[in-house]
Subunit: 310 residues, 2 copies
């Protein structure tokens, strides 16, 4: 067994326009770091959490990373070994970038590495999803799976964790802006109508299929036509100041598409080159400067690596 | 210019479980034959229609194949040449197997061949869709596109005719039964609720994405899990006697999935081998024998050829 180690789990964009609840992708950074060390005293303890202003519980059973790690240790019948865990939140919290998912992914990966990889990455997924459920309430893999596995992840069914990697075309870049406004995931859920018109369903279904085909065939034209959300975005955009103005500017700057990341307030765009992704970033930043809202910008390739040992 | 020729356009299965309005595939047979011959007298005339008990109009502007052919001739500025057209309906009418779509596909293909291929197959599509619209009222490519182009066709948008071929895994076979009961497309449409629950939308979106990924990766397990329709089938199945009994027997016989073809009453199943497709056919036939409803059975590979010159 290894004495101690550090892992990094990246931020993720879930929903991805037409893929509400079933699509997500990882970006290079920001992300969370978790350090684990073997100690003599049996059991898992969280000794330190930084970067979240005391908002997260040290209690293992109530902590996303802790609970995920604990469930994994129990499954492996290794819950009597002594482990100290430090969680370093290095990404914004409540931003729509999968902060709790990154912690859960890092938690299971750290334990698996410490025990010299008894499970594959894919086998770790259910434990990470259980961890995120602590924070989020829902059993959803659309942030956890891309953070853990990397790439663009399609989830046929969250209940069955029927999870698949979709090819990433060369040249695909993400631009993500996190405007410092507060949206509670709870409110973002409550705002959604529980029905959809049949016409919108057909349109969204067509766009989802088009996006997957476009990614498979590196068909950027098809990706661009498909990166539209006629169901969720029109309902949630009102929660994000400046959303439609920003979206228009970003599309004019050449982005393939632009929509809400997760439940917001972060907004993502995809582009077919780094230079376009950078131009898009300039436009995004301008909008929030003018609105006098602080923001953070991230420009990234699609992170194919997922969570990794530092 | 060629003096005369015959083309064949195959029957098609549209909707394909989770792909309402956006997925369709062609089978080898049955289908429609169209014969065209050059004559001196200018203009297009339909001289004969067989196989439909006088149900279809000889008038070019009101006939699916005639109208599609006429629109193509007008586009090519060749509407003054003399052409006689015979339409031989060799497939059941009002069966949910795209009878009018096959006529429209055959109509445009016959003209294009007669004129020595001024357009590509893909370029013929809008004219064929206009033809089918005469019969169906809707501007939909989910039968016309597979009949004309062959294979499994995904349609991101019918309005834009954003049409794409999805790979067909080796070993994929279709079994289709047409029970002789009458369903009007109009009634099948009227029965549908114009809203869908958000949960069902997400499930269906997941299944559509899963089906496309499964076809790309020849992943029959994923295809099987994805070939489900939680939205349209539960509403329309009541129009087809014995539907649920048949579906259960077909799935027990090893089919990947089983649902309504088009607006019904035909029912299709997909299987991962010819032998399973044949076993599925036996089960299908038994159900309608016992119900004392006449039926026709078709077992076929996925027809990759589409409409062709005989």
């Amino acid at each position: 067994m290894i004495a101690g180690l550090k892992v990094f789990a990246p931020a993720t964009v879930a929903n991805v326009a037409c893929g509400y609840d079933i699509l997500g992708f990882a970006i290079d950074g920001p992300g969370d770091e978790i350090i684990v060390n073997r100690v003599d005293k049996p059991g898992l303890v969280i000794t330190k959490i930084t970067g979240c202003k005391n908002k997260l519980p040290l209690e293992v059973e109530k902590n996303t990373a802790g609970f995920a790690a604990l469930k994994l240790l129990e499954f492996l019948k290794e819950d009597k070994i002594g482990i100290e865990m430090e969680i370093h939140k290095k990404m914004p919290f409540g931003s729509g970038l999968g902060s709790s998912a990154a912690s859960a992914a890092a938690g299971v990966m750290a334990i698996n590495e410490l025990l010299e990889r008894p499970l594959t990455r894919r086998e770790l997924l259910p434990f990470a999803v259980l961890g995120e459920q602590i924070a989020d309430g829902a059993y959803h893999a659309d942030n956890v799976a891309p953070s853990l596995l990397g790439g663009i992840i399609f989830i046929r069914s969250n209940e069955e964790l029927d999870v698949h990697r979709v090819p990433v075309p060369k040249g695909l870049y993400a631009t993500v802006i996190y405007p410092h406004v507060k949206i509670l995931t709870r409110d973002a859920r409550k705002i959604l109508s529980d029905v959809v018109s049949l016409d919108d369903h057909i349109t969204q279904n067509g766009n989802l299929g088009g996006l997957i085909l476009g990614l498979y065939n590196s068909n950027f034209g098809l990706i661009k036509r498909s990166l539209q959300d006629v169901i969720i975005e029109p309902q949630r955009a009102q929660l994000i100041p400046g959303f439609f103005e920003l979206q228009e500017k970003v599309l004019n700057a050449g982005a393939l598409g632009c929509s809400i990341s997760g439940a917001g307030p972060s907004i993502f765009a995809l582009s077919d080159s780094l230079i376009t992704a950078q131009n898009v970033g300039v436009e995004m930043t301008k909008v929030y400067s003018r609105l006098k809202i602080e923001s953070e910008l991230f420009i990234s390739s699609i992170n194919q690596r997922g969570t990794y040992l530092v």
